[in-house]
């Protein structure tokens, strides 16, 4: 096995507590656990406001990944799982979140989470995860109106980017910036199949293309696929991007160019803000609060 510093595909696992929020036992504290195909995310909300979250890599065991993410989110908060009034599981592994009181689809959770992160003006959400691309139309309350997803083919998803990061030996978090360092945008590659990503990249490098140009061509092709999905579901402003690829400026800026619209700017987690990669988990925690209140009234 190579050392951590050689794993160019590896994105940062981290946890965060919002310093401006305090909790007491009287508060409604809920959690959302989003077990994705590549990343597992957990978010804690206090009275429906984002309080803490954790992001880890999904392992081969979904229940364990769910627990790991939730423990990571609870770290240093003084809270334990027993303090959580309601836990909602979501994501590709949602049926395998053992501590959850309820499972809700990631479509509904991303819609809800996007509404929480950006407010009622959001009408179209593009969620790009490790193996998923979803275009979701929502109303001003964050409810799903319609959606489309790539259920037959993983082409153009985040996994392909991991392959490129490894092959080109560029840290995955720098890939977006580097893909924009081309004088002229090359034509998109004709094939974004994740299984062929390696041979595709090698073929282009063999032709004498620079790393930047190879990345630009691949990122462009991914962005085209995503833009097509958005157009098929019907683009309505405002548009936002959630999921891991929302952090890839190469993807975001190309989608904006192709569609001719600006996306609402993403909060910057490195500067103390929220993280659009946690949108699904936040949406789930938000549903948790509503479900808890409904149960109390009944």
């Amino acid at each position: 096995m190579s050392g951590v510093k050689d794993e160019f595909w590896r994105w940062q696992e981290y946890h965060r507590i919002m310093p401006n929020i305090k909790w007491s036992s009287k508060d409604i504290i809920t959690a959302g656990v989003d077990v994705g195909s590549v990343g597992s995310k957990a978010a804690i909300m206090v009275n429906g406001e984002a309080y803490a979250w954790g992001i880890t890599r999904t392992g081969s065991n979904s229940p364990e990944s769910a627990k790991k993410a939730l423990d990571f989110a609870l770290k240093d908060t003084g809270l334990s799982v027993g303090d959580l009034k309601f836990i909602v599981g979501t994501g590709y592994g949602r049926v395998n979140v053992p501590m959850a009181n309820k499972a809700i689809t990631e479509i509904a959770c991303h819609a809800k989470g996007a509404n929480y992160l950006w407010g009622p003006s959001v009408k179209t959400v593009l969620d790009v995860g490790g193996q998923d691309i979803k275009a979701i139309k929502i109303d001003e309350t964050g409810r799903v109106v319609s959606f489309l997803m790539n259920d037959k083919c993983a082409a153009g998803t985040g996994r392909g980017m991991e392959v490129f990061a490894d092959l080109l030996q560029i840290p995955i978090e720098d890939i977006g910036d580097i893909s924009l360092k081309v004088e002229k945008e090359p034509d998109p590659v004709s094939c974004t199949c994740v299984a062929f990503a390696k041979t595709e990249a090698m073929g282009l490098l063999r032709k004498g293309w620079s790393k930047e140009k190879v990345l630009a061509a691949y990122t462009r092709a991914m962005a085209v696929r995503m833009a097509n999905l958005i157009n098929r579901v019907g683009l309505e402003k405002e548009l936002v991007i959630t999921g891991g690829q929302s952090k890839n400026i190469g993807i975001v800026s190309r989608i904006e160019v192709i569609l001719g619209v600006k996306t609402l700017p993403s909060p910057k987690w490195r500067d103390g803000g929220l993280d659009p990669m946690v949108a699904g988990a936040l949406g789930a925690a938000s549903f948790g609060k509503a479900l808890y209140e409904k149960a109390q009234k009944a």
């Binding site: 195909s37 081969s60 065991n61 979904s62 590709y92 193996q131 037959k152 083919c153 993983a154 998803t157 996994r159 004709s190 094939c191 199949c193 994740v194 299984a195 062929f196 041979t199 090698m202 063999r206």
Partner: protein, 256 residues
């Protein structure tokens, strides 16, 4: 010379008979890999480079072939070699690492029609490779493993990446590895047979390409098609053989 995405194969033909046969990994430099394989095949036949009348190249990286006098389409090469090896062959299925195709041929080995599954790994050898990795089984053991199963596990067969995720959760649920392996081959056979139905299945059906060496895939494909496919002795060399056979006709047409 057949320059594929994963391997290069070279066949040397003298007076219509195979006298040398060699292969290597394409790697980063398929040109060099082909040069080495040519050298090896000629050494087997006690021949020198200068003895060769005509070099023909085929395969997805044929534009990188060394010494080349002419190129041959991959479908043309399949048809020519398929009929040379099995005179009654009218359909040639070629399943390689990254591409699967079916070629309809006439009795002279001239391609009539073809269909290709390209740009998707789910119908090609890459699918088996990815699944073998996920199962932590050696690629060459996948076939014998699959043959032990009575049934197939349910997996998403439309995409290698989705299939991989399914396999990981199936392993975690401790499903039987043979049944997972069989599901992989059944899924590939489904895709290949769907492709063939678009072309029309004309017996005899000859299966060539590297994946033809896998007994697991052959069993699944035979079951799916309801017939027994013919497999030549060196199925991975069929592309190179076809190119060599066509090279021979080009020598006759235009002597060097």
């Amino acid at each position: 010379m057949d320059l594929g995405t994963q391997r290069v194969q070279v066949v040397a033909l003298k007076d219509g008979a195979v006298v040398g046969r060699a292969q290597g990994f394409s790697g980063f430099d398929p040109t060099k890999a082909a040069e080495q394989a040519v050298n090896e095949a000629l050494t087997q036949a006690n021949l020198k480079l200068s003895d060769v009348n005509h070099f023909a190249a085929t395969g997805s990286a044929m534009d990188m072939a060394p010494y080349v006098n002419s190129t041959v389409s991959m479908m043309g090469a399949d048809a020519k070699a398929g009929v040379f090896l099995a005179p009654k062959a009218r359909t040639i299925i070629d399943v390689g690492a990254e591409e699967a195709r079916a070629v309809k041929t006439d009795e002279r080995g001239i391609m009539v029609d073809f269909v290709v599954n390209e740009r998707c790994a789910a119908g090609a050898g890459a699918f088996i490779e990815a699944m073998a990795r996920a199962l932590e089984v050696k690629l060459e053991d996948m076939g014998s493993l699959a043959l032990k199963a009575e049934r197939a596990s349910p997996i998403n067969a439309s995409c290698v990446i989705f299939g991989e995720s399914d396999v990981v959760s199936l392993i975690h649920r401790q499903e039987s590895k043979p049944e997972i392996a069989r599901a992989v081959f059944d899924a590939m056979a489904d895709r290949v047979s769907a492709m063939m139905h678009r072309l029309g299945i004309n017996p005899e059906v000859v299966l060539v390409g590297g994946v033809a060496k896998d007994p697991g895939f052959v069993a699944s494909l035979n079951r799916k098609l309801g017939l027994t496919v013919v497999i030549p002795k060196y199925p991975e060399y069929v592309g190179a053989l076809g190119a060599a056979l066509i090279a021979a006709t080009r020598v006759k047409e235009a002597p060097k």
